[in-house]
């Protein structure tokens, strides 16, 4: 009788042990963020059922697109051990360039393409200069991109004279902000395209491996034959181009060229990437992490707005959750 009861007990404790281990394994694999998100979805959804309405889910989806793209750009640079403070003013300049071109040319589909291309080209140029300064002249990314932040926001003000460029042809926003392709909103197509491209680059190309190697240990990477400078340059160039994409669709979203657009983006994108497990020290982090981190920040703000947490308290809560998430992540990974 005693033996009979002992067997199920041992089996049960083994199951519990296995469960905890599996849970830990899942934690290591996906991080604390998805769990935090599930908890928050339940809290927000219970307090305010409208949080889970399709209309709101769609809104959060659209709101998060811009931060996701910039956070992915930021992650690419973070992987190399740097970061990019100029993403915000790059968005502003992209917005002004896109707006100026759009107003200057006839309002048809070609004009939209030209304006968008000009905006992305501008941001790519900013990325190229950042890359050149960091890789060729070995200036610290902090200083190089801080300087670029000043240059680009100054340039946006010089071109615009401080006034938004408005009276856009409606086709621009109708296509890039509220337009859909087979029912899928255009900003989602853009973010899908960006994520797919970066996924392929990081996981399936030598360049992707190089980024991790350069960020992990640039000297060791160099000795192993990794083209450190070229990789660094391309990382900033790519980050610039992606920021340009975000700038163009953000311009379409707000419907005007804004010289002060994206001011909050640099720190938010760094926070999002780090929240998603991307290391500030370089060489570590995943695309999924950066995407989730950005989504988390936007979804958190939306949820807090919907359950009517005051703007002041929201700032405190965001900061506290940021610390909790990062500390928990460190704890799970035993760092």
């Amino acid at each position: 009788m005693r033996e009979e009861t002992a067997v199920p007990f041992e089996a049960a404790s083994a199951t519990v042990g296995f469960g905890a281990e599996a849970f830990h394994r899942v934690l290591i694999r996906v991080g604390i963020l998805p769990i935090l998100m599930v908890v928050l979805v339940v809290i927000f959804g219970v307090i305010e059922p409208r949080f889970l309405a399709w209309q709101n889910i769609r809104t959060v989806g659209i709101q998060s697109v811009y931060l996701i793209i910039v956070s992915v750009a930021q992650m690419i640079v973070l992987l190399t051990g740097g970061f990019d403070l100029s993403v915000g003013s790059s968005i502003a300049l992209t917005s002004i360039v896109t707006g100026s071109v759009l107003i200057a040319v006839a309002p048809d589909f070609a004009a939209i393409a030209k304006a968008a291309a000009a905006g992305v080209a501008m941001a790519t140029l900013i990325g190229a200069v950042n890359g050149a300064v960091v890789s060729i002249f070995t200036v610290s990314p902090f200083i190089a991109t801080l300087a670029m932040m000043s240059i680009a926001s100054g340039a946006a003000l010089v071109v615009s004279g401080g006034v938004p460029i408005f009276n856009f042809p409606p086709q621009f926003s109708d296509t890039l902000a509220t337009g859909t392709l087979m029912g899928v909103p255009a900003p989602w197509i853009a973010v899908g395209f960006v994520v797919l491209l970066v996924y392929l680059l990081l996981s399936w190309t030598r360049f992707g491996r190089y980024l991790y190697a350069v960020g992990g240990n640039a000297e060791a990477a160099h000795l192993s034959g990794v083209p450190v400078r070229r990789s660094l340059f391309l990382a900033y160039l790519l980050a610039g181009a992606l920021t340009g994409v975000a700038g163009v669709i953000l311009t379409a979203r707000v419907g005007s060229g804004e010289p002060n657009l994206g001011a909050t983006v640099p720190l938010e994108s760094i926070a999002a990437a780090v929240l998603g497990g991307v290391s500030l020290g370089g060489g570590e982090g995943t695309l999924l992490g950066a995407v989730l981190g950005a989504f988390f920040l936007v979804f958190l703000r939306n949820g807090m707005d919907l359950i009517r947490i005051s703007s002041y308290v929201q700032m405190v809560v965001t900061g506290v959750l940021l610390i909790i998430a990062i500390v928990a992540d460190r704890y799970i990974h035993g760092r």
Partner: protein, 384 residues
Amino acid sequence: MKTSHNRSGWLTRLFGAGVAAALALAFALVARAAGGWSVLSYYGTYDLKTKKPGQPAASLVGPKAETWKTPAAAKGYLIGVSFPHLKDPYWLAVDYGVIDEARKLGVGIQLVAAGGYTEITQQINQVENLASQKVNGIVLAAISYSGEDQLVAGVVGRGIPVIEVINDIQAPQIRAKALVSFYDMGYKAGVYVSGQANKSARPVNVVFLPGPAGSGWAPDTLDGFKAASSKLAPGKVKILDVKWGDTGKNVQLQLIENALATYPQLDYLVGNAVASDAAPSALETAGRVGKVKVVSTYITPPLYQDIAKGKVAAAPTDFTALQGRMAVDMMVEILNGKVPGKDFPFRSGPVIQVVTPSNYRTFSYEAMFGAPDWRPVFSVKAGR
């Protein structure tokens, strides 16, 4: 001959009267160009003990409704001007007013702009540098209500008069103020919404988006709005929520989208001009055009277009460019030896008007926003 002489005398008189009428008309037009807009003025002495933020000091006498008079400059003075920044249409309009008035009066301008409302240290340095450049007087648009009192005392102590434009300041040594209170702007928005609420059978629901928390102006608009609605439509204007946020268009757009999702019974979005400009597209996306009306607490050129298109219901204007002109005029008065509070107002600002789709054509675009193609100008040399 006599008859003929008489006829010619009659003709001469008629001609003379015509010339006189033409001259009077020309004089009236010139007078109109040189001032001539309606203002509310305060005279008397500025006693700091009677001063509250957002309100004129109680020691002053006013408001007196009068027509603004532009002085002539006795000399080609050099006036220093300090702005918090020059990177939006609002400050561009002030720039236009200051520069255009200086050119008209033949005085010089040396204008500096700090990097934004967080850059108080930079503004202090810039004003001290202006004082060292031997300007005759300084027009200050202070970043902080109370943080620049020492600065003003120091500059005035060096014999350089300082007056305030646009933003209110505490500084006891300030010599004059050309401004409109943002409390009054919020009040006007409140008057409009209260009027609509009184016509409605049920109370109207409002979400208010003042702008940046802790800024010198955004909280005042909210206070003014609340004061107006509780006085004019007690219990009929319900503020469901107050959403603070920077005046970046994407930031305001997100706040609006979230507010629309939270409050299906919303009637009015009231707030800063950036939010009001972002609101129409959010309403369109949410399918709430016509159900939710947009009212701003101040006006910008993009918002003016929205009003013209009927997408925004109302926005008060403080005639921003005129305030820039008035500041230059006040400084010229002081430098001419006139006494503020006695010979001309200590504090004065244009009468606030509410711009709506039905009346927007009646207001001067230039008085609100400056010339349509205006680009920032930082300096003017004295002399006409």
